[in-house]
Symmetry: C2
């Protein structure tokens, strides 16, 4: 049973008085500094428990300039966000790394433009030691916001800067989109395929989509433009793109879809049109979201990214901003299943 019914929360001083020592000593015990006599430590601990003392973070922050919290900001409607296993996994990585570092992750949403001010003020207000930003919507003002912050910041996914953008370059962690795409296409080539199509993401809006297309072109510099079809990273979009591709080039024998979701859509169209996979058309995806890739028919060959690791790296960059390189690109590897 905890005591002290007089509303006031106990302070360091209360503990000190009751334990018959100075505030400094109590502070030392609280912070686990080694140079305190064991018996004093015991004594203080006892009083702390008795009084139910909890340090006032504001006071502590004021002098240490550390909050013990890090913000994760996502600029997407909350409801659609977690449907994305990619983000889910990334977030888990960030959280795990932060926890090991003794920091708590707090998530902020930037659903609609009205949220902007609140979030910006929160981040600038010294509530957190750093911020991991996920710029998932082309129009968000996350980079602009990051610019004004004087805490460490790191982006998940490389920002797509437009010409004329004046924001400074921020640290980021990203997968090796271009290299991964190359691996995928090279695999298709190695399989002996000669008419290799690609279904791309929205490459004018997302850096990853642009890079994955670049990787395709690296391997197939002379590919016909008719073998490239742009979609939007969704399954539905993938299905439509596949249909368009088939209409234009019925003889194609392979397709590299720039995301697993689009690959799933492509698989559906191929099935509907009676093409056998991989016999008639080989299919490779990107992301390796196991929820998806292992349940497609046939199981999807795809480019794997170590997403949790990417999340952990983001957190680490926050604590070590002087690290160079300030940004990191995480390698990918091809996971071969049955579709190619």
């Amino acid at each position: 049973m905890t005591s002290h019914t007089h509303g006031r929360r106990p302070t360091l001083e209360d503990v000190a008085r009751r334990a018959g020592v100075s505030k400094s000593t109590v502070s030392r015990v609280i912070n686990g500094e080694p140079k305190v006599r064991a018996e004093v430590v015991e004594q203080v601990r006892q009083v702390v428990a008795e009084l139910g003392y909890v340090p006032n973070q504001a006071a502590r922050q004021l002098v240490t300039r550390r909050t013990g919290a890090v913000a994760v900001v996502a600029s997407q409607p909350q409801n659609r966000l977690f449907l994305d296993p990619f983000f889910d996994c990334l977030l888990r990585g960030v959280r795990r790394e932060l926890a090991e570092h003794g920091s708590q992750a707090v998530l902020l949403f930037l659903d609609d433009p009205d949220d902007y001010t609140g979030v910006a003020d929160y981040l600038a207000g010294g509530h957190v030691d750093g911020a991991a930003l996920f710029s998932l919507r082309p129009g968000d003002r996350l980079h602009e916001m990051a610019d004004r912050l004087d805490i460490p910041v790191v982006f998940g996914g490389r920002p797509l800067l437009r010409d004329g953008d004046t924001v400074r370059a921020h640290a980021y962690v990203d997968g090796d989109n271009r290299g991964g795409a190359r691996q995928a296409v090279q695999h298709l080539v190695a399989l002996g395929r000669t008419r290799i199509a690609t279904i791309t993401g929205p490459y004018d809006q997302e850096h990853s989509a642009a890079e994955r297309l670049a990787g395709y072109r690296d391997v197939l510099p002379g590919a016909e433009p008719e073998l490239t079809e742009r979609a939007d990273y969704t399954e539905q979009g993938g299905a439509q793109a596949m249909a368009a591709l088939l209409d234009r080039r019925p003889a194609l024998d392979a397709v590299f879809a720039a995301s697993d979701l689009m690959a799933t859509g492509a698989l559906r169209t191929l099935r509907e049109r009676g093409r056998r996979v991989p016999h008639d058309v080989a299919v490779v995806g990107f992301d390796d979201l196991t929820e998806i890739t292992e349940s497609t028919d046939p199981p999807l060959t795809t480019v794997h990214q170590d997403v949790e690791r990417m999340g952990r790296l983001m957190a680490r960059l926050l604590f070590d901003q002087d690290a160079r390189p300030p940004s990191v690109v995480v390698p990918t590897r091809l996971v071969r299943r049955q579709s190619a």
Copy 2:
């Protein structure tokens, strides 16, 4: 272009000196107090902008005892959480209300038991002015945690306390589960149905499930036990329960499913077994998740809850803990579509 290259962030005092006024005056301007000469306000604002001054929250908190932030804690794996449109909508309500009150919502996850300490420390550490807790997993220690906090706390959904639980009763906001169930069943009765079954949620684990079952029994005190089948709030579970019910009582002519998801499953089973809805069997759900209810075949008659309003109420209770009643039950209403 901002000046002062010497690392230190500008303080109130810097602004005061440069503007030729006292700290108090600057403070007044910052906090928008009315009694300052307009020309001084202008002058101070200018210097604030010049210096890029941002108030130090820790210092402010230390004296005002207010952080401007409220935590929303969810004890469920993050990935499954947002699949639930119910939570999504509730969270939106909480956030909107908080925003109007000048507070920022920060989301904390309690995925696995390891997270417990971090979250508890964060909440107890004075980082937030209050906490909205969603106890979604029977085994979580959210109530125990709430007990130790000295900030206002409110639960989303009424806690199911077990006999012998010693935690004190916390404020909560919940829908009128029992009343809503009654409305649903009464509607079925009014339709002239005489063999009305129910598919329940996990009533030993969730308060809402127990209440919805109670509502069914209120209207049909003499219902045969064979007309009640327990499921788990999922679509799959609803489908199986419907099958079991049909096997036992092929002549049933109506079913009240305690969630829209389960109702959807029931609809599927009914269709597979050749029963026409609502002609042969009338179906009523619960929740009115429009994503679901408007796309079922036929569109689902269900019990509507104003979920966003519930979220807003939660936030309001946080700021007004002396409000009585300390907890509130939000009314429901039947939305009639085609299934009953």
